[in-house]
Symmetry: C2
Subunit: 390 residues, 2 copies
Amino acid sequence: MSDIITMVAPVNIAVIKYWGKRNEELILPLNDSVSATLDTNVMCAKTSVCVSPNFLEDEIWLNGVKESFSNERMQNCLREIKVRATVEKSVDDVFLSWKIHVCSENNFPTAAGLASSAAGYACLVSALAKVYKIKSDVSSIARLGSGSACRSVYGGFVRWHSGVKIDGSDSIAVQIADKSHWPEMHALILVVGDTKKKISSTKGMRISTKTSDLFQYRIQNCVPKRTEDICEAILAKDFVKFGEITMKDSNQFHAICLDSYPPITYMNDISNKIIELIHKYNNFHGEIKVAYTFDAGPNACLYLLQNEVPKILPLIQHIFPSSNPDTFVTGLPTHCEMINTNLLELFAQSNQKDLVKYVIHTKVGDGPAEVTDGSHLLDESGWPINPIIT
Amino acid sequence: MSDIITMVAPVNIAVIKYWGKRNEELILPLNDSVSATLDTNVMCAKTSVCVSPNFLEDEIWLNGVKESFSNERMQNCLREIKVRATVEKSVDDVFLSWKIHVCSENNFPTAAGLASSAAGYACLVSALAKVYKIKSDVSSIARLGSGSACRSVYGGFVRWHSGVKIDGSDSIAVQIADKSHWPEMHALILVVGDTKKKISSTKGMRISTKTSDLFQYRIQNCVPKRTEDICEAILAKDFVKFGEITMKDSNQFHAICLDSYPPITYMNDISNKIIELIHKYNNFHGEIKVAYTFDAGPNACLYLLQNEVPKILPLIQHIFPSSNPDTFVTGLPTHCEMINTNLLELFAQSNQKDLVKYVIHTKVGDGPAEVTDGSHLLDESGWPINPIIT
């Protein structure tokens, strides 16, 4: 039996959105996308993997529940890892023939537009790469699990190049800058709903690609320039430019969803209230201090510099009162400053509690990392330590 | 003193949306738009006008309240009417020098995305045209009051040609077909909110024109073909084609609003619930039976053929329960059929009452008409009969 390898991998939240595939099977995107990788100390997937001649079949447990390993995307990742191991001659054939056990957990709600599959596949593929001793870039393998997972293979700010090759070999993630480049970049995730989304990204992209009349124009004429501009903004640590592009691209992605037929709506009234709040807040300050972005769900991700966190958090708490104010903000420690009264006057408090359920305070962080404290999810024989018996 | 002229004029609801001006002063649009004119027996503006040597100044009362006649748009309409009267030599110079009294009412909520200004200006201009005995097309004068008002100058189905001339003289409304062409075309207006909209159409258009990256593509590449196609669909009485284009163009208009910066959101969660309902309903029937369209507000206008009304109304009443079911549906008389139980199972009843406040049942109707029953809004001396004293 191999050593048990346990890795954590981060969530990433795109600022230039990936929406639309040029190849569904290989998960090749129609446009480049850009994201920030978020601190694994706050949100992460954690995956333990081992192989053993004693295992009768490949098995996987997700959040304690045994799932099928026959899932095509999982199969593709494992197959590609083994192909890579064969090419790199990193392990011997006997080792390659052993069956695998995978046990994985997320410490945040799954499939609510919180990029859980990105962290999950980045973690799986990173752990497999470790077990099979692969040295080369595995972002293109993570991509086979979930497109945006390739961006979670690196820390800091990451660009996923769509690539042009038919086999997808150039559709890989590349780090723009690591987390130390702009350590002041923080994020607040406002969890509005944690139920599963109505239309999966895969299905949504397919509908948009086929039916939105505006879609091709976005891909060809809007995204390329925005991608270059936001990479420049990141390298120059120009928050105003970064924020404006981030907000515009989020809005355009949702506009494309609405232009699809039938239309797709991921944001709701609370999301729109958050958008209004941020624009009012920025207007009050005369420049962009906070930028929102929304993935395929109603939750907001706010990007902002560290010194802005104690200023806007109390405002969020005021506008969206919570039944559990003590546990409303999770993640990185923070404090709250007094709200400027002139600012406060611009906003009405919601008369309904818990419209925003909680806030996750995090920051830009590193890519996948091995867990060395021995806190594996598989026991010494390679079986889950805490399985849920169903 | 002149005779008191009283006219009613209709609301129109666009199926190809007008959004964006090529000239703000002359209210010249960037694209053609298409609408159906709705029955004045259900919804209308009513306006009484007279001129007299006894009046000291031009005065106007809107919904009982005295308003300023110095409003630039009102001034433009009156001035153009007088220019036209001069050119046509329809009245003498003394008559032209007399001051005017105008009293106008809407029988539906104003400025909630229910096209109140369109009906209002169409009515004002039609009444003025009658007083000043103008024979030529006045749609271009109504346009100076409110762009879409030009479409309310005709009944049935109407196309507003954007025109190309700098002076706007070719930016006029033309009837595609009168109401007798497709008398089965009915409409249900689902009133979701009757508060004034947050961002006026004028301001919203300006933001979209300046900031939406997708806007020009819509104008140049999407709207022209849609306009031709929906005119064909109307002439061929092809409801499926009419409905599909109507829904797509509504969605695209709101997509452009969302792509604007800052983004503009007119629809809300209830609007989106209605959209979902209509797509599910059409899917169940395997073809488009009902089409939604949304103007600059959360209210839905559903276009459908007459025989569909008793089928979908009970479903709407089921999904959006009302505290006042007896007065929930206003306008044209209707009955309800039993809901197909297989259809009913697809929908959850909202647990909150009055999300849809009421429904206006109407149909395609005629253009402005003179009121001949003597029910003027001005008394014999030309003063409002029911002014609100503030």
